[in-house]
Amino acid sequence: MKTTQTKTKVLTANRLTDGISVWLGASGEWTTSLKDAFLARHEDAVAAIEAAGQTALADNRVVDVNVIEIEETESGPRPYRLRERIRADGPTIDYAPASAARVSQAA
């Protein structure tokens, strides 16, 4: 099937239980790393991730579901909007000296 080329898109949301930012991965799971996101390069693929987002929303797995545009770079997908880059990389500031402990504990 032939579909039109568009800007590459990924599907993002926040996990219902803890609100952590997640992206839809290739096998339909939600990942906490944008690097592992499924890249939708064609309209059909975009329609598919949009549908997956609606299903996940209805299943109460995630909230605030959005399709965002990214640029494919050598180091991985990079969102066009700063907002989405910060969502992917975390706050741009060294925000909590104690955070490392808590994160490794949670992992």
Partner: protein, 556 residues
């Protein structure tokens, strides 16, 4: 300080149970996000960029050490080891899980705290002068009145679905440390010629996308009429406030569109029905609430005078800290201490769990167990004997809490901005950090003197930029961050809204622009006694604009 009675305990507990049930049903999928969102907001739970956020009310900014320890414990157990004190005298946690909210709220209730009415179109947490009950210049403690308003407004059925959020601030002295003129209702305690206590009443102030200063509608309202008159204001607003457009829904727009004469006539007419009814506050009730706020018994500690002078002589760092962060108490042997949450290059308003614990410990040891949160995102120990200042200072030094910059250029207010906030256009915190680093040298700061910089990451103005002597507003232009500068704002008793200088600045240019503004002030002031805001008011925006933009137009 105020202690919950049985009713308060039962009320907060019932709310915790109710919300715990709602969270459980949400997590099990029984209720949808659309149904849940207003419920979580009623309990202070927002969704930010990276996680949920919980906003905990600190009524009139007053805490004891037990409560502060609980805030530290929550930061450590359910968050990433820190919290953010805000311009609304609240604390926000940036990383709590939804599934932990019931446990957090339960723990808060144990120390008489909650997150009710920290969001939504209701009467929000009432704020007050952070020096309440201690300041030398105070007419009366504003907190009992803030507490009366809190009790009356909590889940008030008539005022739970207002056209928009509603913020009330109360101050107890001529000097306005609560920014009452940028609140929906501002109350200033005062005495009339007969020596009776009452309020000057202001309405219709606000920031956000349409900053407007409040208008005074009453020069003296007897204290007994506080609730009846406030009810009259709320009724008129609830009836006429615009519900068709969220950007025009605040009372400031109603005041602006209706005119203050007509609106206050309507309020007076409404009040005529109410003033002698059940809302009139009996003197005994006022006295009972006031008793909760009775100042601690402060024993004479006159030895502090001599000691203080000697310590200042021997330690210039201590002397500098006393000069900036210590203010006169109404008891001559005591002082009010500002604990700066603005370390040079740090994140304004953030405190680690360890720092919160340290402050709790020091409040117990040196400050009669009282702590305040200021709208300038600092903490205060309101009752410290002069004789204890030196050991307190040493202890604060160890915990990185002795920055001597209260009121100086590095004592910056900054909202969370695009590092956390889902509504942001640009980052605020890194901007504050860069300015703080640039001007961090103590000599340079001292030379510049009193100067308030306030930063918001979008036009909602949570960082009070409209009333900053220098205000910075982050906007998004072509996908990049851009910062507008405004000058001449002020949030005190001589309130004014800042004026935008001209085109905005890119992140890399901004700190230089701030430096240009500061240099222009230094070059134009009549002397060190003329502060930035006084100088600006005398010479106007012209010289500052010229310094910022002239070379540009010449080059063009």
């Amino acid at each position: 300080m105020y202690r919950y009675d049985e009713f308060d305990h039962a009320f907060v507990e019932a709310r915790v149970n109710q919300f715990s049930d709602q969270v459980a049903r949400r997590l099990s999928g029984e209720i949808s996000e659309d149904a849940f969102k207003p419920l979580r907001l009623m309990n202070g739970v927002y969704l930010q960029l990276h996680a949920y956020m919980l906003r905990v009310a600190i009524p009139y900014g007053t805490l004891n050490s037990r409560q502060m320890r609980k805030l530290a414990h929550i930061a450590r157990t359910y968050d990433r080891g820190y919290g953010h004190f805000t311009t609304r005298q609240n604390i926000q946690y940036n990383w709590p899980a939804l599934s932990d909210m019931p446990a957090i709220l339960k723990e808060l209730a144990e120390v008489e705290m909650h997150a009710i009415q920290t969001s939504g179109n209701c009467i929000r947490n009432v704020t007050a002068d952070h020096f309440a009950g201690a300041a030398a210049d105070e007419i009366a403690d504003p907190r009992p009145y803030a507490e009366i308003l809190r009790q009356w407004s909590s889940v008030h059925p008539e005022f739970s679905f207002l056209p928009r959020k509603f913020k009330i601030a109360v101050t107890g002295s001529e000097r306005d440390r609560a920014a009452i003129q940028v609140h929906d209702i501002g109350l200033q305690l005062k005495k009339n010629d007969q020596g009776e206590l009452g309020f000057a009443v202001w309405i219709g102030g606000g920031q956000g996308r349409t900053p407007i200063l409040a208008k005074k509608i009453r020069d003296f309202l007897p204290e007994a009429d506080l609730l009846s008159y406030t009810t009259a204001i709320m009724r008129v607003y609830n009836l006429h406030g615009r519900r068709d457009n969220k950007y025009k829904a605040r009372i400031k727009i109603l005041v602006h569109e209706t005119g203050v004469e007509q609106l206050s006539a309507e309020i007076e007419a409404e009040w005529a029905h109410l003033k002698d009814g059940e809302l009139k506050l009996p003197g005994a009730d006022i006295a009972a609430i006031n008793a909760y706020f009775a100042p601690p018994a402060l024993a004479p500690r006159a030895e502090g005078w001599g000691e203080l002078a000697a310590w200042k002589k021997s330690d210039p760092g201590f002397a500098e800290w006393v000069g900036r962060n210590v203010a006169p108490h109404r008891h001559p042997d005591y002082a009010m201490v500002t604990i700066s949450l603005k370390p040079i290059g740090g994140i304004p308003g953030d405190a680690s769990a360890d720092q919160m614990d340290a402050v709790a410990r020091l409040a117990e040891e040196f400050a009669h167990d009282e702590i305040r949160v200021t709208h300038e995102q600092n903490l205060v120990l309101p009752h410290v004997a002069l004789a204890d200042l030196e050991p307190l200072y040493r202890a604060l030094l160890t915990d990185g809490l002795a920055t001597a910059n209260a009121g100086l250029i590095t004592d910056i207010i900054a909202c969370p901005g695009l590092d956390y906030c889902a509504l942001a256009n640009a980052r605020s915190i890194p901007v504050a950090q860069e300015i703080s680093n640039r001007f961090g040298d103590p000599k340079r700061q001292a030379e510049i003197g009193d100067l308030k910089i306030k930063i918001s990451g979008c036009i909602n103005a949570c960082g009070h930029h409209h009333v900053g002597h220098i205000g910075i507003l982050g906007v998004e232009k072509k996908g990049a961050e851009l910062y507008q500068i405004s000058l001449g704002g002020s949030g005190d008793e001589h309130a004014s809204i800042g004026q935008i200088t001209g085109r905005g600045f890119e992140p890399g240019e901004l700190t230089d622009a701030i430096e240009t503004i500061v240099d222009t002030y230094l070059a134009n002031r009549t002397g060190a006694a003329e502060t930035f805001i006084e100088c600006y008011r005398r010479i106007g925006a012209g010289p500052f604009k010229a310094a910022l933009y002239n070379s540009e137009s010449e080059a063009a």
